[in-house]
Subunit: 185 residues, 2 copies
């Protein structure tokens, strides 16, 4: 599988990749153990600081690791990884090392201990910002502290989960920039 | 513009439409006034009760109306409404009646006072469930109490905002159902 070279990207701009609603792969590390989970329930909350919310069900093996470490990396896979995305979502880190099992490469992050996934288009290093809703809704508010993005394609072919085993694949892009007021882009 | 007939849909199933991350139109009503805003910052939080989170910037005229009424309707537009979606996001309900200005039809909801938008593919009636993060993050947790969905197409051509005036349009769908464990769909 192809490892994708990524470059620094402004953390205030991660909405470009997350607001369209793709499935992401969340990698974590805790006490020497590493893991990956799939996640579709995420939301952008603020540009600066760069805040995102992740609903991580406590049924996931990753839940305890992310809670204890207060860190994770949100990685953006494309259709090149479709079957691996499904495989990651249908196995448990309690039983297998998902990096090894799925042939993914763990890369050293800059600001957190959790690894980046080299085969993904983008990777956002996250540090826990607020856990006020973790007990009640399994909802973590993270700050994206470092962003890595491949320079092209500008709009990667992401996967968008609809339930029942079906994904919508990102289609064409259209611009309506000329219809926007300058402050509203 | 075409009004779209919609039928009752299980509220526990709204993730099919919201998890892929489309731009939605949020309609509200308060003290006889009605309004619509565009929103891309939303997240599914739970199947049952059917909970969703909406980050509604307090800069929006709708913010006060939704907070005071504790209700809204999340409407799902398709590419047939692209220019109207942009128009709604670039005007203020403090200045115009957006239903009248954009030629949209307000339909009576079942469980809330806020109107449905007849020209949208789906409409989810929402009642405020938890406002604990409204002061700190403008983040509202709503329960979807009633869902209305057009029977076809099964996967509507939704709009997914990437910033900078550019939308990704929903592309083809692919199934990997055979690779899922039964409880993981």
């Amino acid at each position: 599988m192809r490892r994708i070279a990524k470059y620094d990207f402004p953390v205030s701009g991660v909405r470009r990749f997350l607001e369209p609603g793709p499935i992401v792969l969340v990698s974590s590390q805790c006490k020497g153990e590493r893991n990956i989970m799939t996640l579709g329930w995420h939301v952008v909350l603020e540009f600066t600081p760069s805040l995102i919310g992740l609903m991580i069900s406590s049924a996931n093996h990753s839940f305890g690791m992310i809670r204890a470490s207060g860190e994770c990396v949100v990685n953006l896979p494309t259709t090149a990884l479709t079957d691996i995305v499904v495989g990651i979502g249908n196995t448990s880190g309690a039983e297998i090392d998902k990096f090894a099992h799925f042939g993914l490469t763990a890369e050293q992050a800059s600001a957190v201990a959790a690894p980046l996934i080299a085969e993904c288009h983008a990777a956002f290093e996250c540090r826990l910002h607020d856990d006020v809703l973790v007990d009640t809704y399994n909802f973590f508010i993270f700050e994206v502290v470092k962003a890595h993005v491949a320079p092209r394609p500008k709009h990667p072919q992401t996967l968008h989960y609809t339930g029942d085993g079906v994904f919508m694949v990102a289609g064409k892009t259209i611009s309506r920039k000329s219809l926007f007021r300058p402050g509203m882009l």
